[in-house]
Point group: C2
Chain length 165, copies 2
């Protein structure tokens, strides 16, 4: 299928047409293939907020072979909300779109310490006890992901993070 | 945005373009708005199977006001797999697509008894004990949904079902 746009704008490729452009909102592109639904759960988005939401999963990508894309209309996500997805999708890019134009574009950036997002996988860790201790993990390596618990030193891998969402 | 297709094929509407047509696979249309992600969880699809998956949520619909659509490429879902989504999305339609043509189209159909899909919400029910008793619920009403536990008579509503997925 090939489409041509009226008004002399460029012909769109197959890949671009899989989900149409949005007028206003946030596009999360270059998500690791197969991870878009976990990304939505990490962001606390379940579709019942009312925003129009488009997701494509496992689509061909020049850079990545396969990738996922999430488009959230009429909502601009803040970096502090989105950076956590770098845990499972370190190459994701965030595009803020206003009136069909990308107004801001950046790669997600993983903080050095992850606080209150991922739990330590050691059930005996003080952060899993009844003590008022927030889970806190240091990033040892970005890709493949390795996190180290601040309290008990337990090492978590990406699969341990995925299991929590 | 308006697009016109090369080769003399008809102009596509905004709604049709939100997610492009698929060549082969299953399209679940007329999903209750905001429920597509629960539908995927009910079907056991998380995106890591490798199939191309497109989802749109809360898009305008003539019939329904708003609706969701899920497109699963290169996989034909069987009615026995899909009928369970009638629990939360009684108007959903299933289209089996082969070579861009809808080869089979049907509405989801809720069985009279739901076995082994939804648990009774009464923690004291025998189906929640260690006894080898499968959860079994009778459909009292389709919409709004009312289910009655075969064993203890507890009534479940749609929200009780949503909570389990």
């Amino acid at each position: 299928m090939t489409f041509t746009k009226i008004l002399g704008e460029p012909v769109l490729s197959e890949e671009e047409l899989r989900v149409r452009k949005i007028k206003d909102g946030t596009v999360i592109d270059h998500i690791t293939a197969g991870h878009a639904l976990v990304v939505l759960r990490m962001l606390g988005i379940d579709g019942r907020e009312g925003n129009v939401l488009s997701t494509v999963i496992n689509v061909p990508s020049h850079q990545m072979g396969r990738k996922d894309i999430v488009k959230i209309e009429d909502r601009e996500l803040r970096p502090s909300e989105v950076d956590r997805i770098a845990l499972i999708s370190p190459n994701a890019t965030i595009n803020i779109v206003r009136d069909f134009v990308v107004a801001d574009k950046k790669r997600v950036s993983l903080p050095e310490t992850i606080v209150n997002i991922v739990k330590c996988s050691n059930p005996m860790c003080v952060s899993n006890s009844k003590e008022p201790v927030s889970p806190q993990l240091h990033v040892v390596q970005r890709e493949p992901l390795l996190l180290r618990c601040h309290y008990c030193g337990t090492i978590l891998q990406k699969e341990d993070v995925l299991k929590q969402f």
